[in-house]
């Protein structure tokens, strides 16, 4: 094959590989988006579960939280006392804020145009800016600062005429005296110290004003928060308690939670849904890590190799070379077609996992995998550590396992029992 011909085909192939790469990256983005969506669903279910366990503060509801979830906080703390204490604390804080002089005068202090603090802060900012510029005239001259530190031009200056540095100091002292339009260097030093001092003073003042302004703003914000919380205290306290319970539920072993809560269809269904969503996220993440990353790496390698060959055989000295057909074809590769074929497999796996929603079919009483339930055992999941480990302990997938896998163990009261009582 002529080198020119090869280069032409290689460029074509390179385009194909780059298109494949784009496809893979698009799919990766889609996967990440889907994982994010599932994550949001999961968070929602978690919140719903917490609400399910704690619909209200009725004593019977609170009393059952520990046996159902293993969370002992509600049993060990007096909710009524906590609520009352918080109410009192809010009232005190509210009163304290309202008694604060700055809060009372907030309008006068913080009005965006006429507020005392606003105006003062602006003035000080400008003054500080000016002073800083003056000070910088001096501090941008390192030799000047050294002369001042050595107390040149004062009786405390230590160097003597036999010290070479003495003459250098003398020279620069004159330069700076002239530059700053003074009669003697000591005036330069005094001028610098004066500006420095004023700058520090003004800066401190400005910081104090800013701090007071910020404090007043915080008081206003806190005042609003308190009033809002007082207005909706019951509901917000309940939400806080639910969040606390949610924190506990977030990491609790699902099988353990099911074991505690089984017998109530609502809890069972919610737990299975939560667990199922978590597994979907986990499996999609593994799919992404394993398949997408590997495919992207393979395509990048392909593209790099093609580009190298293109560069090499585009050089004038190689222009008229004749390449062995087998080698040329090997270099050209398949443009990523094999990878794309794998992508189809990924697509199938991905869609199978994403669309799954039969969470209620999972049966904790059997030793089964969510993966097998989601894929009906049709997809090899050995690249997922959990699946691989399970297979090594239990052998391969058993289709019969799911034929009788049922819904939640308990019947809803309004449904007829599936078990013949006779």
């Amino acid at each position: 094959m002529q080198a020119q011909q090869f280069v032409q085909q290689a460029r074509q192939r390179l385009n194909e590989v780059r298109q494949s790469l784009d496809t893979v990256r698009t799919e990766n983005t889609e996967l990440r988006t889907q994982i994010h969506t599932l994550g949001q669903k999961k968070e929602l279910v978690l919140s719903q579960l917490a609400e399910l366990y704690l619909p209200s503060f009725e004593p019977a509801v609170v009393a059952r939280i520990k046996p159902l979830t293993g969370y002992a906080w509600f049993a060990q703390n007096d909710l009524q006392a906590l609520f009352a204490n918080e109410k009192l604390s809010l009232a005190r804080e509210h009163a304290s804020i309202e008694a604060d002089p700055d809060f009372q005068n907030r309008e006068g202090l913080l009005h965006e145009i006429t507020g005392d603090l606003v105006v003062k802060e602006k003035e000080l900012r400008e003054q500080v800016q000016l002073l800083r510029q003056e000070v910088e005239r001096y501090t941008s001259e390192p030799r000047l600062l050294q002369l001042i530190e050595d107390k040149y031009g004062t009786p405390e200056y230590q160097r003597r005429w036999w010290d070479l540095q003495y003459y250098s100091d003398w020279k620069w002292g004159d330069i700076y005296t002239e530059r700053f339009a003074k009669q003697e260097f000591s005036e330069v030093a005094r001028s610098y110290e004066s500006f420095s001092r004023d700058h520090r003073t003004m800066s401190a003042e400005r910081q104090a004003i800013s701090a007071r302004k910020e404090r007043t703003e915080q008081l206003i914000k806190r005042h609003a928060e308190i009033e809002h919380r007082q207005q909706f205290h019951d509901e917000m306290f309940l939400q806080d308690c639910r969040r606390r319970l949610r924190d506990h539920l977030a990491h609790l072993d699902r099988e353990q939670l099911y074991e505690w809560s089984k017998g109530d269809r609502g809890f069972e269904a919610a737990i299975k849904k939560l667990h199922g969503l978590e597994k979907q996220i986990e499996y999609l993440d593994e799919l992404g890590q394993r398949q997408l990353r590997e495919d992207e790496a393979a395509l990048n390698t392909m593209a790099a190799k093609l580009q190298n060959k293109i560069n090499k055989f585009s050089r004038p000295k190689n222009y008229h070379r004749v390449l062995p057909a087998t080698e040329a074809n090997a270099w050209l590769g398949d443009g990523g077609r094999r990878v794309l074929a794998r992508r189809q497999k990924f697509r199938r796996n991905y869609e199978t996992v994403v669309v799954f929603d039969r969470y209620d079919s999972f049966d904790y009483a059997r030793d089964m995998l969510w993966w097998d339930l989601m894929t009906d055992g049709r997809i090899d999941g050995d690249f997922i550590p959990e699946v691989s480990h399970w297979r090594s302990q239990h052998g391969s997938y058993d289709p019969g396992l799911f034929s009788s896998a049922g819904s939640s163990t308990s019947s809803a009261p309004e449904e007829p029992s599936l078990i013949d009582p006779s």
């Binding site: 293993g70 969370y71 906080w73 606390r244 924190d247 506990h248 977030a250 990491h251 072993d253």
Partner: protein, 548 residues
């Protein structure tokens, strides 16, 4: 881990000596082999009717009928002999031992081992002391050179046994081999409770050895008739697992058939026993003031053994009369001596000095030296001391627990001795339940880099223990496991720094009645999203502050 199959052969010895010796050695083989990185699988081929002892020691036993069982079942001798030989050959062929340990009969009780010794990887023979005429038989002497190592348990007070040039280089003298170390015996009060000894009574041990001797029942009855007339005595009859006579029960009597009675010997005040290998060494090692008599055996010189202890002032000797048992007068005489507290104390001290050590560990080391690299065995010996295993046993922990704990302190800067001492300290200090606490400790250590020197190792130990203490307050093994699993690894903090941050966090959780799961959520918020986590140095204090 590489598998090591060890098969012991203890067939047709009289009494229990052969079986207990090999089981005692196997017990230490298991320990040392594990510490050397091997996965030992232990089997014993035996005919002993006390094969249940193997189960007690966690060894799988294959059993054929004993001579007694064959005789009583009326089975034809020749046919049974053929069956027994085939059974041994097939067992060895199937098990394919890497190490084959044989006691008493180098050629096997039926002569079957002569055709089977080329199979096992290494062969070790326990050449216990026996009657000279028995030891001189060609069926024993001719086969000794076929073994890779010959262990010669040396009995105290006896001169060193002669070796032959053909096998002398393979011979290794060891001391007495017993199932338990002195440190493993139960404390006196607990032992007396287990033996059923009332507070105000003296505990007298009465035994005829393993119980299989024909004179056992007569001896026990005779002795009980003497002791039952002494109201201050409570007699514990160690009938042994082979005893088949009528049990003796009644007031001031405790009847035992357990082969592990040694564990309660510290509860005894005196003993009257046959001088079988086990009874003799176990009583002396435990420091029980004792009087021994000799049963007549084919290979075992019990009278010589008893006299040896008496010569050393470590025990009293009860000479046998015409019927082969000590007279009642000699029994009463010995009882009078053993009642004297000062005499008894002298005998006890002399007994402990006479049998100061259990050499099962040394015997196991010699056996393993035929199959393990020297370096690996040396490490196992440095780590696997009696004190380590005693610590494990007291906390109810298996040897795997020691391996896990040792893995936390792997560093060139620490000697094996140092590591072992750290683990022993850990085992003592772990809160209950020890198994769970140890798992948590190991999980905590894995969060940190391995210690680089002794000081860091000690800090790791202290830090780990304080965290485990804090975690144990939650009484939630699953929760602790989840918490430690999800806690980020920490490479930037020293162990004690991490503990100083973690313990207040855990205390705050516990104080508030919170769960570890909630703790994970609170901590997670302060750590931030995966891939951008804040360091624990800042996240933990912030989480602690949130909890209040």
């Amino acid at each position: 881990m590489k598998k090591l199959t060890v098969v012991a052969y203890a067939v047709n010895g009289s009494g229990l000596g052969h079986l207990t010796r090999v089981l005692a050695i196997l017990r230490w083989v298991r320990r040392l082999a594990r510490l050397a990185g091997m996965a030992p699988e232990l089997f014993v081929l035996t005919s002993s009717e006390a094969a249940g002892l193997a189960l007690e020691e966690g060894v799988a036993a294959f059993k054929i009928p004993s001579k007694t069982a064959i005789r009583e079942a009326g089975l034809p001798k020749e046919e049974t002999l053929r069956l027994a030989r085939q059974w041994v050959w097939h067992s060895l062929n199937l098990l394919r031992p890497g190490l084959f340990l044989v006691d008493t009969f180098p050629g096997g009780s039926f002569g079957e081992l002569f055709h089977a010794l080329d199979g096992p990887g290494a062969r070790v023979f326990v050449y216990r002391a026996m009657k000279d005429a028995f030891a001189r038989q060609e069926v024993i002497q001719a086969l000794l050179p076929l073994y890779d190592r010959i262990l010669m348990p040396q009995e105290p007070g006896e001169p060193a046994r002669a070796t032959e040039p053909a096998w002398a280089p393979k011979a290794r003298a060891v001391g007495p081999i017993m199932l338990r170390e002195r440190d493993e015996l139960r404390p006196r009060e607990e032992a007396r409770r287990r033996l059923g000894v009332p507070e105000h009574k003296r505990a007298v041990w009465l035994s005829a050895g393993g119980g299989g001797d024909p004179s056992a029942e007569d001896w026990l009855k005779a002795a009980v008739s003497v002791f039952s007339q002494e109201p201050d005595l409570h007699t514990i009859i160690g009938a042994g697992p082979l005893y088949r006579g009528a049990p003796l029960r009644g007031p001031n009597l405790t009847w035992l058939t357990s082969p592990l009675a040694m564990e309660d010997f510290l509860g005894l005040d005196m003993a009257f026993s046959a001088a079988g290998y086990n009874s003799y060494h176990e009583l002396l090692h435990a420091g029980v003031p004792a009087a021994f008599y000799g049963q007549e055996k084919i290979a075992d010189e019990q009278s010589r053994r008893a006299e040896s202890a008496a010569r050393a002032g470590a025990a009293l000797f009860l000479p046998s009369g015409p019927e082969g048992l000590p007279s009642l007068e000699s029994l009463r005489g010995a009882l009078a001596v053993l009642r004297d507290p000062s005499r008894a104390a002298l005998l006890a001290e002399a007994a402990r000095a006479f049998v100061p050590r259990n050499c099962a560990r040394e015997a196991a080391a010699e056996a393993l030296a035929t199959v393990l690299p020297r370096a690996a065995l040396d490490v196992a010996l440095e780590l696997g001391t009696s004190s380590l295993f005693l610590g494990l046993s007291r906390r109810g922990l298996p040897i795997e627990a020691a391996e896990e704990a040792l893995s936390c302190f792997v560093t060139d800067a620490l000697s094996h001795d140092d590591r072992r001492e750290l683990i022993e300290g850990l085992l003592q200090a772990l809160p209950d339940p020890a198994a769970a606490s140890l798992r948590w400790f190991v999980a905590f250590c894995k969060k940190l880099p391995a210690p680089r020197d002794e000081e860091q190792a000690e800090h790791l130990l202290g830090a780990g223990l304080s965290v485990v203490q804090a975690l144990s307050r939650f009484e939630d093994d699953r929760g602790v496991t989840s918490f430690l699993r999800l806690l980020p690894n920490e490479r930037g903090l020293r162990a004690e720094e991490l503990a100083d941050l973690l313990c207040p966090f855990l205390a705050a959780l516990s104080h508030q009645g919170e769960s570890l799961y909630r703790g994970l959520s609170v901590l997670g918020r302060h750590l931030g999203p995966p891939g951008q986590e804040a360091p624990l140095r800042s996240a933990l204090p912030a989480a602690t502050a949130e909890l209040g």
